[in-house]
Symmetry: C2
Subunit: 631 residues, 2 copies
């Protein structure tokens, strides 16, 4: 066939996307696809070496004959079924080309939250397999330039930065690998690892949430976005203080306190990381990035940044922008050349965890007005929608996490997670995690029992026990009232499980802090309860929480129950989103700049709102008409 | 005065640049200058606080009255002489404004080489003094963002990167400094130091040339471009090998050899640096960048990059691009957060020193064809002009630096630098450095004496002594001929100073390597001697070299003597150019990419050119018609 270019046109259709091209015959299927706008994978620069550009063509006689490269990389059965390598087959006549899923360059999507939010996978860290020509006297290009030119040829990448430690070994690495290596790139520009051969399938990341009480990590496959393992440990800083203010004063008063707290946080992350890696049989050297959410103090402590000025007015953090630090500088046990990315923060008490909450809850793109609460030792609250978001933070204390409650425990085996009382006999019915004998109450059960007590007027609106009640469950120990929930014989500890007057008061303080935060934010935005389309509750205890009971004790505004949703640990989910998606990471930075912050302690409404919210459910019963109890 | 905008125009002339603006009255002198294209300094954002925008106006009644800011920042005598702050004075009527030199934003120029090349001073490292507002409850911007916003307000800078070590201390630093600090920026984007108060005058850099034998540093004031101190030490690597090949084999054969050679180079730089700093009373903590030139092997050894592949075909270096490494990673004794910039290289044997040569000699922008030689243990040669440059390297050995020559010494006190012989009596006349008794011969004198011997036929064209010569100076020691230049009694050592047959042969090898490099480069570019407009000779010994003698021994092509110029140590000068000028640094990178490289050992002409060049001056006498000696 000797037709001149332009003599005659052929028409090529690419399926399943339907892209079409008319051009002169003699073009490769690969080039035609490129011109038609259909992206086909390749890793060898179109030299018939990688076998990634497989396509299926029924009319084989409309293409040139199978090349030796194709015979090497395709099985006879595949060739029979019409498989070709797009870079090898040239087009002679009109043809329809089917591009199978494995050959398509398209961004995979993954669902990252429990409520239908999905995300294109486009992580900062990627691996690329490249094959280079050996240097010769007529091609004496230096090793680094040889490598980056090869990356550019095969993938169109223009990286130019290399870690000094890696550069030292580069000449040896490339020669030892026979000039076939897999390069790990950060942000398509910085080379952080070079391995012999093709290891491009092994690329992992870590998303981290450093909570005041708990450190959670997800080990994530950066090719698929899947979470392969989860690790969770108590924050080892807890021994130096339960809450963030105690930890800051530890830093201020103890020599090397900051260094000690930092190394404890790192130790906790590494422990969780190692657990997750063991679970998934992943080598930590193949983890190249960790994204970290955490409140502002956890953020500063992890980076060993002086945190003292966060704790006193005007509560100024050192930095709000996102930060990238080399893993080896922080001793975090991923690949030492990997990057630790700290998500940006909003303010002194609305940290990177809150940015992650806003990101993964989707509140920032909602048309409807939403209220979002991430309940923990500090509770972050957001109200608004895509147009404008206002945030605040309140010190809700660790009561909802089981701390400061006499028989409170975390949501572990043996914890009562749901509980109800008989209105007349006051008999207690409960469910425990693991369906074993109870060891204590977790946060959701504490809310249940207080709601039930208020419901049946065992306590009044001020949270005080009704001393006229005729039941042996209500008794006094050392002169202080308490209510027996589980008898000695029924508990796993051999001790009674009780709820004390002090426990109730702790919960009142915590829920008053949270509710008054919600209320002030809404007032400052001129909103009423009716304006809210949903309340989203995040945090570890969310999924066990009974929304009716939450309303009854006055924890959240009195919205119809179906409008109250539990969204799980949005901090770790947001951290994961930033890990697997550059777009999400960019969005997080935008949010940290655009979300407004209200300093509750400086708001003139704060004192009266807080005091009114100490009552159960509230001083102003008109706010809780659906759940009000005669008192 | 209540004229509406547009009612009336005033005309403002700025002197000395003559820029003129017509506009409505009421505009500040500062804004008018900006619109007219005259740049006036400011550091406070035009708030009358920094006092940097001083101008002189004779017709004071054409401006608004002196403000309280001006009364604070200008002395009564200055006010009387017509000084105003440009940001405070508003224009009422036509006026001529004189902008004194200290208020002008203009790039200062400095002459960097001995032959009239000058350069705008625009270093990578600059210091900026900023004053911030204290955070309050209504302005709780975090510290880092407060700082970068202040830098942006005052200087239009958009930096965003901060060293992690610095960030750790940032909250304390800013508060301790009362929110008035001087920030050191690298490339206008990375914060590398923050100091309390205004230290903007103290900003220094270091230019370095790591030669195979010698390390030279210049301590440079980055505000003025002036060299404040010079340090020079023998390269401490010398004890592990005189030349680069010996050092590479040391790396290959000795465990930790690479680490040892690296630390020796660093030790040498630090010693030279400390000497220069002592001389100029500069604190090393105020040195924020060092630019380093050096041949490819010195470059690799300093960075501890595996150098072995440079020494065998195809002589491939690890990298040619410029490299920036933090000073603390290399233990170079400038500010630990400062940057070490390695100039780019061209090829395995044409390194960063050669790029510096090409940069500072100006050969890359010459219209005329030039030949440039940087003579050292390795000699780098360039030929061409702005259109195209071709380079090569030849192993000329250390003979010209006094090594391998029986009584050769470096150009130190007591070295004979110029020498001549009486044609008949063979009496020797010489000059020594320091005008003291001679201790030995430096490179230029060795060339002189061989040229004289050839001129008076004491040696023949093969470099062999004329054994028929009747003079007691020519004698044999252990059966080998030598020529006595200085008698025992006249020398500082009490020993004769002689030139041996072997010395002559060493010089023949060295000059043959250099000349054949020149010749092959010229042939490959199709050039004859007549096409050369100049020969530029760089290197330490250049300034003592007699061009006539250089031609007579056949070291360089036979051009008229006035066309042979000595350009000094172009490597350190080029390194300094890259230090004080971003444009020069960019130019260096361009040169490393555009200058072509010829591997002499792979050139088929090499063997015959080299052999012919072993004769004195050359086998082909027609090439040296101006200096030929009857033989």
């Amino acid at each position: 066939m000797n037709s001149h270019k332009g003599d005659r046109l052929v028409r090529i259709v690419f399926e399943p996307d339907g892209n079409t091209l008319q051009t002169s015959p003699g073009i490769s299927v690969f080039d035609a696809a490129y011109l038609a706008g259909t992206k086909i994978r390749f890793e060898c620069g179109g030299n018939g070496k990688c076998g990634k550009c497989r396509v299926i063509v029924k009319d084989q006689d409309h293409l040139t004959e199978t090349t030796t490269h194709e015979k090497k990389l395709l099985t006879p059965s595949e060739i029979e079924r019409g498989f070709r390598l797009a870079c090898q087959a040239l087009i002679k006549e009109d043809v329809v080309v089917f591009v199978p899923p494995e050959s398509r360059v398209e961004r995979r999507k993954i669902q990252v939250t429990g409520f239908e939010r999905s995300l294109e996978i486009d992580p900062m860290v990627k691996k690329f397999y490249v094959v280079m020509q050996k240097p010769t006297l007529s091609d004496f290009k230096p090793d680094f330039e040889r490598l980056i030119d090869a990356l550019n040829d095969a993938y169109g990448l223009r990286c130019w930065e290399i870690d000094h430690e890696l550069l030292k070994k580069l000449p040896y690495l490339l020669r030892n690998a026979g000039w076939e290596v897999t390069v790990t790139l950060w942000n398509d520009e910085k080379i952080i690892r070079i391995e012999p051969g093709d290891t491009s399938e092994k690329v992992y990341g870590l998303s981290v949430d450093v909570g005041t009480s708990k450190i959670v990590v997800y080990l994530v496959d950066l090719k698929t976005g899947e979470t392969l393992g989860v690790g969770s440990v108590e924050n080892p800083q807890t021994m130096y203080g339960e809450d963030i203010l105690t930890r800051i004063s530890y830093v201020i008063t103890e020599e090397n306190g900051l260094k000690r707290l930092q190394s404890r946080a790192v130790r906790g992350i590494n422990e969780a990381l190692n657990n997750a890696c063991k679970e998934a049989s992943v080598d930590t050297m193949n983890i190249f990035e960790a994204t970290v959410a955490g409140n502002t103090v956890m953020h500063h402590l992890l980076l060993a940044i002086e945190p003292r000025y966060i704790s006193s007015s005007p509560f100024t953090p050192a930095i709000k922008s996102p930060i990238n630090v080399e893993a080896n500088k922080l001793n975090i046990g991923i690949n030492p050349s990997g990057i630790i990315h700290l998500l940006p923060i909003i303010a002194g008490f609305v940290g990177a965890d809150a940015v992650a909450d806003a990101l993964s809850s989707g509140i920032f793109e909602s048309k409807e007005i939403l209220l979002l609460l991430d309940i923990g030792t500090n509770t972050e609250i957001f109200v608004g929608n895509a147009d404008d978001l206002l945030s605040c933070s309140c010190a809700s204390g660790p009561a909802f996490e089981g701390s400061q409650i006499k028989h409170g425990i975390k949501a572990v085996n043996g914890a009562i997670e749901r509980i109800s009382l008989n209105p007349t006999s006051y008999k207690v019915e409960y469910e425990t995690i693991g369906d074993v004998k109870p060891r204590g109450l977790c946060g959701s059960a504490v809310i249940d029992v207080i709601a039930e007590m208020r419901r049946y007027e065992i306590i009044n609106s001020r949270g005080m026990f009704n001393q006229t009640l005729k039941t042996p469950r209500l008794k006094k120990t050392n002169g202080r009232s308490e209510f027996v929930l589980v008898a000695k014989d029924d508990s796993a500890t051999g001790q009674e499980i009780v709820l004390t007057q002090k426990d109730i008061n702790e919960i009142q303080l915590a829920k008053a802090a949270i509710y008054s935060g919600c209320s002030i934010l809404m007032k400052r935005k001129g909103l009423n309860d009716e304006d809210l389309s949903q309340i989203l509750i995040a945090g570890a205890f969310g999924r066990y929480l009974d929304p009716e009971n939450a309303k009854l004790i006055g924890l959240v505004p009195d919205l119809p129950t179906e409008k109250i949703k539990f969204v799980g640990n949005t901090a770790i989910t947001g951290s994961k989103m930033a890990l697997i998606s550059k777009a999400a990471r960019k969005q997080a930075e935008k949010l940290s700049k655009s979300i407004r912050y209200l300093e509750l302690s400086a708001d003139p409404l704060f004192r009266s709102e807080f005091t009114s919210a100490l009552l159960i459910p509230h001083k102003d019963l008109s706010r809780f008409s659906s759940v009000s109890v005669e008192s």
